[in-house]
Structure formats: structure tokens, C-alpha cells
């Protein structure tokens, strides 16, 4: 492992990150993983073993939709797109996340 600090995810945060990524535009699995890694400055590395099951869960709940298409370098790829229900879900998760982070911050600050 190159990165020494790979953050442990709070349960459910991976889905939130995926939804956030997709809210900027459709993307394929590789692109999603890349985006999260880049934006987080390599702090968050998504293992493929957890990315795809998470994508499946999002599909089952109807928060994302998938479609086969062609990638930027002419490769066949499966593109994921956030659905309106997914956007609503994302908003909820962000609210919860902010609340939790805020709370944790206060606890840590008090110490």
C-alpha cells in the first residue's frame, strides 16, 4: 500500500461519496474511484472490492441508474448516473454527515 493513511469509512459514507461524485456528472466505476482518490488528495482510496458492491446497493435502491456507453478513450464502459431520488438521498446524507462531523468536532475540541 502506497498511502499510509487510508481513512476508515464510517458506514454508509462510501455511498455518499459515490453519489456526490455522480452529482457532478455521469461517470464509470474507474472514473468514480479516480475522482474520489484525486479530490481527497490520495487520502481516500476506494478498493474495487467495496466500490462495486456499493454501486449495486445504489442500483437496487434506485439512487443511481446504469447504462453501457463509450468512454473518453473509446472504450466500452458502464456509466452510472445519479437519479432524482439519489439527489434527495445525497442531500439527506450530507445533512447527517455534517451533523455527525460537527458533533465529533465538538467532542474532540472539548478534550
Amino acid at each position: 500500500m502506497e498511502a499510509k493513511h487510508t481513512a476508515d469509512f464510517l458506514p454508509g459514507t462510501l455511498e455518499m461519496l459515490i453519489l456526490k461524485t455522480l452529482s457532478r456528472g455521469t461517470n464509470h466505476g474507474y472514473g468514480i474511484a479516480q475522482h474520489i482518490q484525486q479530490v481527497s488528495g490520495d487520502a481516500l482510496k476506494i478498493g474495487e472490492g467495496s466500490l462495486y458492491p456499493a454501486l449495486q446497493r445504489l442500483l437496487v435502491n434506485g439512487w443511481v441508474a446504469a447504462e453501457w456507453g463509450v468512454s473518453e478513450n473509446n472504450r466500452r464502459a458502464r456509466f452510472y448516473q445519479i437519479t432524482p431520488a439519489g439527489r434527495k438521498r445525497l442531500a439527506e446524507e450530507v445533512r447527517n454527515f455534517d451533523f455527525v462531523v460537527d458533533a465529533i468536532g465538538r467532542v474532540m475540541g472539548a478534550a
Binding site: H28, Q56, R57, R78
Partner: protein, 849 residues
Amino acid sequence: MEQDLAEDLRIHQEMIEDELLGQGRNADEARWEARRRVGNVASTLEQGRAAWNWVWLDSLAQDLRYAWRGLSSSKLFTATAVLTLGVGLGLNTLLFTVFNAYVLRPFAVKDSGELHMLRRTAPSGGSWEFSLREFGDLRRRSDVLSDVAALTYTNVPGTPRYSVLIVSGNYFEMLGRPAQLGRTFTDDLAGPDSDPYLVLSHTAWVTKFGQDPNIVGHKVMLHGAPFEVIGVMPEDYAGTESATPDFWTPFTMAHRLLGSSVDPFSPAQPRQFRLLVRLRGSVDPVRAEEAITPYVQSASGGIYEDPRSVRAKLEARSSPVALSPQLLILFAPVFVSFGLVLVAACANVANMLLARMTKRQREIGVRLSLGASRGRMVRQLLVESLLIALLAGVAGMAVSQLGLVFGERLVLATLGPEFAPLVRLHSLEADYRVVGFVLAAAVAVTILFGLLPALQASRLNLTQALRGEFGSTWRPSRLRNAMVINQVTVCTVLLILSGVLYRNTINFRARETGIRVQDVMEVEVRQAKTREEIARQFPAAAVVARPPLHSPAFETMVTPAGAPAAMPVRFNYTSPEYFDVLGIPIVKGRRFTRQEAEAGAAVAVVSQATARKFWPEGEALGKTIRFQRVQRPFIGNVDDFAEAIVVGVAKDVISGWTWEGDDPTLLYLPINAASRHARVLLVRSSPEALRRAIETGWPEVPVQIVPLREWLAIQTYPLMMASWVGTLLGVIALLLTVSGMYGVMAYLVSQRQKEIGIRIALGAPAAEMLRMVLRQSLRLTALGLGLGLVMALGAAHLLVANVQMNVRAWDPIAYWLGCALVAVAALAAAWPPAWRASRVDPMTTLRMD
């Protein structure tokens, strides 16, 4: 979906490879690194499936495959289990098929839920049918009724015998069913004198007219009149009665079939129609009853003492028998008996499964130690049971279909040759409800026979199981013993009860009626002249208003001389020859003379019991009886004379129900063959001779000859039938018990073989081993018998309370025989294992491990 995911992962891997190649890695390294980063594809795929809940289905399919393999590798076990359950399920399916046909399946008509039968009821009892005038008035009640049809049933005797439903013209329109061939009739009927016609039922078309495609236009002779066939109804239309009639004919032709005395259009307006009503849309039946009751009361003036107590009553008619709590209570004993046999079958299969689990303990242990969860294990075992049950369901369908065919034949064959044509059975085909029942029953019994063994087996101790031993919590023997006890109980109850019923039937049949039934034939002849002529042809022939042994005679109110008040007495009109033909002795005085019968003289013969009741101390001969007139249902009025003189006393006989015993009262009044009361001829002859004579002498007379003997037998037929069905169920339960007992004892012996070997080696006598096994089986049998006896006693008393037939509940012989049979069978089943126990060779057993 899974392919999509796999493809997605593969592409992802390629993208990583591209990225690495772009960073200047070499191809091999890049591929290897990419594969490492994507990781375990299979596990990812499985997690993906889990997200879609497919694991459950997937492992169910796996369980099914596994169960199928397991079952097909032990064919004997599977066959035995499937057959055992199949018989149990089949019997219950058979019962359900009958129940479905009569109660659940709606008539194939438009909106059957709106159909009701309208009756008028009064607290004083009795239910009068309706006249055409009343029918016409009710048809105008469009506030609650959308339509009303009048119907009455009649039989046209002869060969073949035809059943006819006489209906109002709107009948078919109201039910919304057109004919399959030709046409039906509508409300604008031609007058009574027009050429008569009829509509054929599909069944009659097939069975009596050879499915002739050109049947429309043909003529059928009924009571000497040519009825033209105008149409044939479709196959699924079975009518609105419990039995499908052969023909429907409009009520304008009723007089040709019923005789002019009961012409519905006559000014007398005879009340002879039942009314089938269709409620208006959403009208509640109770509200409709309230709305019609005032009219019914105003129309009932002449027939009830207190018309204001009369009520209109609507009964649902969406199927032949309406589903009601009373119906379920009435038939509960039948359902319970059939259900008990299924329970006994389940107990047997559960026993077999337990034995099988014991053999499979090592396999189960291995699977548990390899990480199978307990729930998964239980499910696996249940899936195996479910598979057995479903196979048994298929077998059960076959059993029930065979059973129905056989049962129908048996009923017709045992009814007597003259009676069988009178019986019409409703179509008993299996529909989706029956299939649904079998499936539901199969799933239900899976829980019943599969759950306990599965729970038991999954609760084992791992380390012991791997060594081939179950832990101390594994106590299948206790469970298995309970099942055998249950089986013994079930067959004891069934056998005792059918024994009680059988003995009662035999007892009733053996009862001396005091009436000669041998060679006495009964013929109904409507025409007075023909009746006279036929009677004259035979040396021993009598005429009677109500033939004996059909049901008790009607009562009339009389005041015997010297009595303070009127009292009811049963009465019948007979010709003087009645006493000779039926061999009823006159114990005092004389019978009527022929002259008295011709003249309709005011004389009477009373039975001994009547004489005792009317004049307890005095002499009956020469006393007068004054007839009272009352308006009450089931009370007849004698209007031939105001009073009659007793000229003779006849010996007491049974002319009503045999289980009632001697007639409590009976008054004989004289008639001759031409009298308006005369209806039936009783002739001492063979049926063939009588038929030949009538067919040659009076070819236009339709005859239906029934030997009096068959009427006698038919009285106890339902009781006899119940005892047969009970015996059949009891014997099946007994067979299940025998195999259950054998299984448990054989298992016991094989399990304790080592111990027995050691005991024999230490000098225990072989006979002691035999006794040990027999004692064990005796204990189970005794417990089951005890329970069975108590339950049988309770059930018999319930039966007596519900069946108004003077059935004796306590019959020592039936109880003793039932118990003895079960005990002997159970011990016989335990004998072979016991014998094997006594022959255990100590040397072989000790060398076994």
C-alpha cells in the same frame, strides 16, 4: 445483471492497466498490479448478488438440488414417505373436492353473489312454497329485488328417468346464460296449449342423447306429450340446484308434467314454486328481508294461524350449499376424521425422517463444522421435506381422483338397482381451488412432519456428531414414541366410532318392522283408472296415499270420544288389501270391507298404541273419533267426514323411521283405487313381472318400480355409509400405526444392539430381550388406547347429540373389538423387531467396533 457487473469489473481492470502503462510500467507488471487491485472478483460478484437478495434464491436452488440428490439416492425412503403422505393428502383432497363442488364453487351464472332463495318461515315451523300470484307480486318489488324466478322440480319416471326443472320464462335471462346449441326461452312465453318444448342440459345431452349435434328440433316424450328440444346449455352451466336437471321447461307447460290438479295457473293457485331472487346491486340481504316481510305476511293469511309471525328469509344461493357456521359445525366430525388420518401419516413420515437424521448425523455434523449456520441447516432439511410433500401432493391428486371415481361407483352400486337412477351427483371435477388446497396442504404438512426433526437434528453437539454420536440433547426416541402414541389414538378413535355406527346400522336393519317387505313393489300411478285396472290384475295389490317406510306419516288433529281435548295422531289412507299385502294382523275387530272402501264410509282402524293412547282403560271398538280442522304446516286435514267409528285394532308396526321404532300413533282410513287420496300401488310381485305387465298392458304409463325392501335399506344408508368411510379411514390409520410401531421398535433394537449383545453375553435369557421390546411397545399402545378410548367416548356422545337417529353411543362390543384390533396389530408390528432382539448374537455385536 451479474454479467454486467463482471464486465464492468473487467473493464475497470483494463483501465487500471492503461493507467499503469501510461506511468511507464511494463505490460506484465501492469496486468499483475491491476489484477491485484481489483482483488477477488468472485467475492465482489457475490456481494453484488447479495445486494440484490439473490443469495437467498441461489441457495434455495442449491438446497433443492441437494435435496433432490439426497432423495433420489434413497429411493425406498422417498417412495415410502411420498406414498404415505400421498394417501393422507389424497383423502383430504377428495373431501375438499366434494366440499368445493357443493359449497365453494359458485354457479356459472352472472353475478352469482346476488342470488338468494326466498323462503317464508314462521316460529310454528314449516315453510310454504309460493304461488304464481305471489311470484308475480314479488317480481314487482324492484326496490330491493332486481328479478325473481320461480322454479319447481319434478321427475318423469320411466327408462331413462328424466329430471325436469320447471321454471318461469325469465329464468335464463336472469342468470345471463345463453344456450350453446339452439336457444333458451324468454319471458314472453306462448300459452299453456301451445306445443311444449324444453332446453337440454349438457350432461343429459351427452349421457342420454349421445351428444347428437342435430338434437335441436327433436321431440322427447314426457307423460305422453311430445316436447321439442329447442336448445342445449353449455357444459359449464350446471344450473342453480345441487343437481343438474336433464331439462328446463317453462312453467306454462307445468300442467302437462304435474297433472291438472296442481296446475299453477288454476284459480286455486297451488303454492308449489320456490323463488330464486336476485338482489338489487348493493342491497343488503337483511334489509331486503325486512322490505319483503310485510308482503309475505299479507299473503300468508290462509296458511298460517298467525300470519304476523311469518318472516321472509333469504338464503345465499351462489353455490348449491351456502357456506355457514352451522354447515361447518355439522361437518366438523368429517373434516376432523380425515384430518386425523393426515396427522397420522405425518407422524409416520416424521418418524422416518428422524431415523434418517440419525443415520445422517455424521453428514450433518460435518456440514455444521464446515460453517453451515443452524438456520441454513434447518432450511436445508425443510427444503428436503417440502420436496417430499410436493411429490406427495402430486400423488395425492391422483389418489383423490381415483378415489372419487371409485366412490361414485360405490355409491351407485350400493344404493340398489332401482334407487341408483334417482341419485344425481354434482360435478366433482378438480379446479384451481383444489390444486391450491393441495399445495397449501403440502406446505402445511411440511411444517407438521419436517420442522421437529429438522430442529432436533440441527441442535447437535459438534464434537459428538463428528464421532457419529448425537449429544445428550438429542432425544429423538421421546418424540418418536409420542408420534406412535398419537397414531394409536387416531386409529382407535376411528375404528371404535365406525364400529359403533356399524353396529347401530345393523341393529336398525335387523329390527322387525312388522311389515312384510319381501316381494312388495311400490309403483306410483297418477291416473285413477289405470291404477284401478293394474290393481285388479294382481291378486295381492293395495293402494295407499303415503307408502310406508319413506318417512313418518303426517299427523291430523282429532278428539277421541271421551277425551277432553284434541290431540295429534298420524294417519294414512289405505285400501282394505293393505293389511293383507303387508301382512299386518288385525288383533281386534275387523279391517274395512271392500264396500266401505268403495263408499268412503266413515270407519277407521287404529293401531294398538293409538287405542291405548286414546282409551287407556276402555274398549276402542265402536268408539268415535272426531276430526278437527287446523291450519298448520305438516298437519293434514281429514275432510272426508266429520267423525269416524273405530272398527278394528291393527298390530303395531314400524311404518316411519326404523330408528324411531313402532309408530307412536297411526290411524288407517279407507280408500279404493279410484279415490282422490290414492297415489301409490303396493303390489306383491317380482319387479320384472310387474314391469312386464305394466309395459304390455299400459304402455303409456311411465313406471318407476321400487321394491319396498330398498326403501327400508335406504333409511339407514347414510349411517351405513358413514361407518364405511370411518372404517376405511380407521384401517388406513391402523396400517400407518403398524408401520410406525415397527419402525420405532426396529430402530430401538438396532440402536441398543450392543447393549442387548452384552446382556445376552452376560447370561440374560433371550426371552427376556423379547419381552423387553414387547413391553416397550405395549406401553405405547396402552397409552394410545387409553387416550383413544376417552376421545371415542366423547366423540360418540357428541355424535348422538347431533344425529337425531336414536343412535346408541355406548356399544361394548364395538369398543372392545376396536381396542382389541388395535392392540393386536400394534403387538404384531412389534413382534419382528422383538424377535430380532432375542436372536442378537453376542459375538458379532461385541466385535462390531
